[in-house]
């Protein structure tokens, strides 16, 4: 299970969320290990069954006004009980002020209390999105990610098979490069997003030449920062007896981070123009998305033709006139 230091969250988002720490600096030494958020209304009211204390807690106007309505002794006892749980952090929205007792107790129990100026609903959404991103499953794959006609294609295959050269050829044809050699993949909202592993530019190693700067060389339109991955194309050396897809009635599927996408095993041999085939794969993917499958269409027409012919033959044979 992934964890994230609260300190990192606080310093990274301090300005964007306009955060302010009410407790001591040392209370930030906490880890978040759950991407979900909880609003502890019921716990504050004294109901602790199924209290999701391991989540980040958000207190809004309702919770704060409830706390203010409590008598000081009761407030003290209740807050003390809530804070005995190992809560990663408590966020107060709308810049609301918190009773001094609460801050005092939180310091005692080493639980950070942080205020934000953002409203509850918006903060709930923003923090959720931020945590989702942090806790999203990721993976780095050896490959090259390109985009053509809006379709993201992940090129994989052994070193030296020609992934980079293929990407270069595609870029020259006006398509875009996202990442070469290593592609960082994040599963976000059931979508596989691919980016480069670094953010200092689109460099590429071309065997025999060295490093080149794709953005400088081909222009800003030749690159892209991130792209949804729609299809994986595995380039492999041509072997005579291997079973390559001939008609395309069946789809091969690959599992990346639990998400299934189509994979195409593409035989490569010297002198073959792969980039054209990659473009064809992208366009075929678009057609399939729109519900047109050439393989199905062709075989359906062929079958109809065969049926008609067989019928005619039978008619001729049965005809005794």
């Amino acid at each position: 299970m992934k964890t994230m230091q609260l300190k990192t969250l606080f310093h990274e988002m301090k300005d964007e969320f306009s955060l302010n720490l009410l407790t001591k600096q040392s209370t930030l030494e906490k880890n978040i290990s759950n991407p979900y958020i909880n609003r502890p209304g019921l716990a504050l009211a004294g109901y602790f069954e199924r209290f999701s204390y391991d989540r980040v807690q958000i207190l809004g106007e309702t919770e704060i006004s409830y706390l203010q309505s409590l008598k000081p002794e009761k407030l003290y006892d209740r807050i003390k009980e809530v804070l005995t749980y190992d809560i990663p952090a408590v966020f107060i929205t709308k810049g609301l002020s918190v009773p001094d007792q609460v801050v005092f107790l939180a310091n005692e129990m080493k639980i950070p209390i942080i205020t934000t100026r953002i409203t509850t609903n918006k903060f709930y959404y923003l923090l959720g999105k931020y945590l989702d991103e942090i806790f999203a499953p990721t993976k780095t794959i050896h490959g090259t990610l390109v985009e053509l006609f809006g379709v993201g294609i992940l090129l994989t295959g052994k070193s030296g098979i020609g992934k980079s050269e293929c990407a270069l050829d595609l870029v020259e044809r006006g398509r875009r490069l996202i990442a070469d050699d290593a592609v960082k993949i994040v599963l976000r909202d059931d979508v596989l997003m691919g980016t480069s592993t670094n953010d200092y530019g689109h460099f590429m190693e071309v065997r025999g030449v060295g490093l080149i700067d794709v953005e400088r060389m081909f222009g800003i339109h030749a690159v892209r920062v991130q792209k949804r991955i729609d299809v994986q194309v595995e380039l492999m050396p041509w072997r005579d007896n291997l079973d390559y897809e001939r008609i395309g009635l069946t789809d091969n599927i690959v599992d990346i981070l639990g998400k299934k996408i189509p994979i195409i095993y593409l035989p490569v041999s010297p002198g073959k123009n792969i980039s054209v085939v990659i473009e064809v794969i992208a366009m075929n993917y678009i057609l399939k998305t729109y519900g047109y499958e050439a393989a199905k269409e062709y075989t359906a027409r062929l079958q109809q033709d065969l049926k008609n012919k067989a019928k005619m033959r039978k008619l001729r044979m049965d005809d005794k006139e």
Binding site: R246, I247, L249, A295, Q303, D305, L306, K307, K309, A310
Partner: protein, 88 residues
């Protein structure tokens, strides 16, 4: 060079599935392989070629193999026709 005649026995004729079966089997061999139907002559290792024949049930085909392993090729392919490509 071996030549032999076969008849399509399966009900649906030479549609996509048997065509794929036939081409995959033939591609394993090194011999050249042609299929002749009437005035059409196609490469038996090409899927589009085989489907272009549009050979229905009852039609007659001539198989022509030429090469070092021609006998094995013809044997495997004719068996496929006899077994109706594992169809009705």
């Amino acid at each position: 060079m071996i030549k032999t005649k076969v008849t399509i026995k399966n009900k649906l004729g030479m549609h996509a599935r048997p065509a794929t079966m036939l081409v995959k089997a033939a591609s394993k061999y090194r011999s050249d392989f042609k299929i002749i139907k009437g005035d059409m002559e196609i490469n038996g290792k090409s899927i589009m070629g085989v489907m272009t024949l549009a050979a229905e049930q009852g039609s007659e085909l001539e198989l022509v193999a030429d090469g070092v392993d021609e006998e094995h090729l013809i044997k495997e392919i004719t068996t496929m026709f006899e077994n109706k490509f594992d169809e009705e």
